[in-house]
Symmetry: C2
Subunit: 254 residues, 2 copies
């Protein structure tokens, strides 16, 4: 996977202009970010022309970016019918978190022995930022990123790039639902406490307990998210057939 991990947030502001480097990559990053933040809601169909004109590029980079995202599992491309952001079923959520619960403890196990003090303080800083952001409800989308940052720091010393690529993709696929978890504030609180506990166990190099707690942590997060999703779907069932306007910040066309 040719993801450019080095430079992530350099072009966050510009809406239409794409900076240098590969246009395809830039468009893919942009769309991925928008999907993960929920700005492109589930079920939305991504039309190549609209995206191309929006980003001031031709349709070729857009097409390739869409194919990239399709391979990452973020969208689905159907022949001659465009790409859509699939709505994840509770079963999908369960499966995603099962994969996480399986892979991430294994990577953590390999990483813990090589974690440095700098890693720990960095993770600590992320957790503090996390607490700060929790106070502002409007920063929901930041939570998912901070969550991933914390986890990925802990895994960073495992030196298992393929594991990490898979884990990253799986996390991305579900991240656009993290805003749902805001509804269960106690769930977030619990997650935060577990994060601190996990970090402490890693500091003490208690590998097995840390991995076990991590597995439980992921499992619980998946369960609560699954339930939140089921509630949301049940609530959306009663409403109109077309009016899912609660996430009305969709950009696909204007």
């Amino acid at each position: 996977m040719t993801l450019d991990y080095t430079q992530m947030d350099q072009e966050t502001a510009s809406d239409t202009a794409i900076p240098r480097r590969s246009l395809t990559m830039a468009v893919a990053d942009r769309l991925r970010d928008q999907i993960m933040r929920g700005e492109i809601p589930e079920g939305a169909q991504l039309r190549q022309d609209a995206i191309a004109t929006q980003y001031q590029v031709s349709r070729i980079p857009v097409r390739e970016a869409l194919r990239q995202l399709d391979a990452e599992g973020l969208i689905e491309i159907v022949h001659n019918r465009g790409a859509i952001v699939p709505a994840l079923s509770p079963e999908d959520i369960e499966e995603l978190f099962s994969i996480r619960a399986l892979l991430e403890p294994e990577v953590l196990k390999l990483s813990i022995p090589h974690l440095t003090k700098e890693d720990f303080s960095e993770a600590e800083a992320v957790l503090q930022t996390y607490v700060q952001e929790l106070k502002h409800e409007e920063h929901v989308s930041a939570w998912g990123r901070l969550n991933w940052q914390f986890h990925s720091i802990l895994y960073s010393r495992a030196n298992q790039p393929r594991f990490m690529a898979i884990i990253r993709n799986v996390n991305n696929s579900g991240e656009r639902y993290t805003r749902l978890q805001l509804y269960l504030t106690h769930g977030m609180k619990r997650a935060n406490e577990e994060h601190h506990q996990i970090l402490e166990l890693c500091r003490n190099r208690e590998i097995a307990p840390a991995c076990k707690l991590l597995r439980q942590h992921i499992h619980f997060a998946g369960e609560s998210l699954k339930q939140a999703l089921e509630r949301k779907r049940a609530a959306a069932q009663g409403e109109s057939a077309q009016g899912d306007s609660k996430n009305g910040d969709q950009p696909s066309k204007s």
Copy 2:
């Protein structure tokens, strides 16, 4: 006419969507197959123009197919410099099989309760074909496919598409090295015996033993492949050119 839409020979019944093939998909399948069979050797650089003229298509489908394969982890695209088939290090092999050893038993556990008699007989047939093919050394490339067929049949009832997608990709990434395992004939024999044992355990619905044996089976296969690869690399160290048997029809610059 090098490219035929109509012939969709592969695809075991695991895929949900079996839509019409686009040129991009066809090219991607072709290239993926060639890479997995080893017809495109490691280190070869895939030039878009050459592939396009070879398959009688334009460069656009080729580009998109390459990007697809890149996202699958089969090749690496470097900006403005084309795509290459990466040479996997022994550590890569180890990581790939670690992932398999982690994911596949979990899927098998979920699948076993729902396996039918038809599944068992189908798997049995694959194993018999496998034994047949082993006698002909020239059919090495068939072994990888049969191996995957057998495994995927056992997992097919788990109904975990994302697990399966990951497992499939991980298997694909390493499959072009299965020919190396031919060198250790006893390893193949052992693999065959283990396959039969696993199948028997699945028949008796002995979930835990089956999963445990599967894990060991994958682990052993990875270890032996890793050792074979190390031997090959050590041998290739002396002679800069190693004669790969069949790559006469490939766009490799020389």
